[in-house]
């Protein structure tokens, strides 16, 4: 080892430590940002270390790649609106995974002959995980952006087809493991993995995206870790594993918040089945006028806002904050109740409300806010449906039975802001809407909220 190599290894060690410190900083909003500066520093050190320590002879491709990547990356970082955060995150999972897969292909091109058995195994994992995460994330991003139809796409015999694809992929992997010289098998494996990624995400509905996003996050990380095994590079293993486990923990949390198993999310095709008369919903929905709703809010003591994905689609985060401020000005206590799977990715609602300058101290998690609903005068549900469906608690036959919910039905009165009378995304009837304490305010969430704010001013 020469000096340059030692320098490179030292930067890798520093980077690994800084990455861990960065994630530790994430445990509190006050320290999170400083933590990320550490991670950025670590990344920069690792890049410089690599450029110094490896025998780089061709700079053209590197400079071109860094330049193009930085321009696109910076453009994304600056211009993507907060409402489009799920799509952007999915897209960037695709980019990270594609890089891992391509590095794998490159390694195969150059070193296929002299790889050990273990390295070949790791290479197989890297390429498979990288490729399926790439296409899977692209499909997820397409669904979230609305380019691809968001409902689950299912057909007869789908699981058999998927199983066949999976077995073919594993078959190629094993064959390549034993016969590294079989180029066509390696490339078939790559192709099948791309296809498998598509097949894996296509049957999953948009409402289940929080779990899928977390899983893809995990796969992208594990692909990077496998790259580390192939290249014998510890910083890749550490960073990839941290990412992999972060994604895994998030997906477990999301599954818990829906009371479903990961297999059920991946293969259940939730939302395709319209629940047939298992709901005890019935009766009439009571509509409320803007002025009456404003009156109720203005004379309440405690108001809880319950945002859902509808808040994001209507881009109503600023409107809700304005209304909340007016109410606070009248002495009303305002809180926000955030369900773990509200929105399309973990923490989606928190980010939107933070963008609208809602202080994070008024955002409450499900466990904290649920005991407070009985003493809440008005709960305002904004574009949320399944996460406030009392059937999950009361009706064991419901397909969402057992999912923990925000118990808004225990509040003294409930105002539901909803686009129309139709069912929510999952196609389930929601008995909450038929309760006597519930009143419906139809219309676009953003305009409803700003009209409410005007009306509150005139009360």
């Amino acid at each position: 080892m020469n000096l340059a190599t030692y320098f490179m290894e030292a930067t890798y060690l520093i980077a690994s430590v800084l990455f861990v410190l960065a994630l530790k900083g994430m445990s509190h909003p006050e320290t999170a940002r400083r933590g990320m500066f550490l991670a950025e520093g670590g990344m920069f050190a690792a890049i410089v270390g690599t450029l110094v320590g490896q025998h780089i002879v061709t700079w053209v491709w590197i400079i071109a790649g860094l330049t193009v990547g930085s321009i696109i990356g910076a453009w994304m970082a600056i211009w993507v609106p907060m409402t489009a955060m799920p799509q952007r995150t999915a897209l960037s999972h695709a980019f990270g995974a594609l890089a891992a897969a391509l590095v794998g292909v490159g390694e195969f091109l150059v070193h296929a002959g002299d790889m050990s058995v273990v390295t070949r195994g790791a290479l197989g994992f890297e390429v498979i995980l990288g490729a399926l995460t790439t296409t899977g994330s692209l499909i997820a991003a397409g669904k979230l952006q609305g380019v691809i139809y968001g409902k689950p796409m299912q057909f007869r015999g789908q699981s058999i087809v998927n199983l066949a694809i999976f077995l073919a992929m594993i078959g190629c992997f094993v064959f390549f493991w034993i016969h590294p010289e079989a180029q066509s098998v390696f490339y078939s494996m790559l192709g099948i993995a791309f296809l498998f990624g598509v097949m894996l995400v296509i049957p999953i509905g948009s409402a289940d995206m929080p779990v899928v996003m977390s899983l893809l996050n995990s796969y992208a990380g594990l692909a990077a870790a496998a790259t580390g095994f192939v290249l014998g590079n510890n910083v890749l293993i550490i960073a990839g594993t941290l990412d992999g486990f972060s994604g895994l923990i998030l997906s477990i949390l999301m599954c818990k918040a829906m009371n479903r198993s990961i297999t059920n999310v991946l293969f259940g095709g939730f939302g395709a089945v319209i629940a047939e008369a298992t709901s005890n919903a019935g009766g009439v929905m009571r509509e409320i006028s803007l002025d009456d709703a404003a009156m109720q809010l203005a004379f309440a003591n405690r108001v809880v806002f319950v945002p859902g994905y509808g808040l994001a689609t209507a881009q109503a985060q600023h409107a809700v904050r304005e209304l909340a401020e007016l109410l606070e000005g009248r002495g009303v206590t305002v809180k926000y109740a955030i369900h773990p799977v509200a929105g399309r990715m973990p923490g989606h609602m928190n980010v939107l409300l933070a963008e609208a300058n809602v202080p994070y101290s008024s955002l409450y998690e499900m466990e904290q806010i649920n005991p407070e609903f009985p003493s809440t005068d008005v709960a305002v549900v904004i574009g949320a449906n399944d996460v406030v469906n009392p059937d999950a608690r009361d009706n064991p036959k419901s397909i969402i039975a057992g999912m923990p919910i925000l118990e808004v039905d225990r509040a003294k009165s409930v105002i539901v802001l909803k686009r129309g009378q139709g069912r929510g995304f999952s196609g389930l009837e929601n008995p909450l809407f038929f309760k006597s304490c519930t009143s419906m305010l139809y219309g676009d969430a953003k305009s409803s909220l700003s009209h409410l704010a005007q009306a509150v001013q005139h009360v």
């Binding site: 990455f19 994630l23 193009v68 696109i72 990356g73 980019f95 050990s116 990077a224 960073a239 594993t241």
Partner: protein, 104 residues
């Protein structure tokens, strides 16, 4: 990869997994979106593998081209990921008093 290196790598993997579990289970749900985009940016570390592919000695031209694409996508991930994470965390960093002041 010889057995000693492999075993060392497996140790690194296992310890990193354990550490990751400990550290990440403390992240509040409030910060789950920034967490995801931050870990995603960090896993853009595959950039350093891409750099080698794009420019190191003894690689054929086709590998350099694959490396170029990999460097590009990994850089998008790193720059975009850190950039957007910072943008999000800036929003969370605002204290209540500042928010009130800004609103008036």
């Amino acid at each position: 990869m010889n057995p000693a290196v492999l075993i060392a790598s497996v140790y690194v993997f296992a310890l990193a997994a354990f550490l990751g579990y400990q550290v990440i289970s403390r992240v509040p749900p409030l910060l789950h979106t920034p967490l995801m985009s931050a870990t995603n940016a960090i896993s853009g570390i595959s950039l350093i593998g891409s750099l080698v592919l794009a420019g190191a000695k003894g690689y054929p031209l086709f590998a350099h081209i694959l490396g170029f694409v990999a460097v590009t996508t990994a850089t998008i991930n790193v720059v975009g990921g850190f950039g957007i994470t910072d943008r999000m965390l800036k929003m969370f960093g605002k204290r209540k008093s500042e928010t009130k002041a800004a609103a008036q």
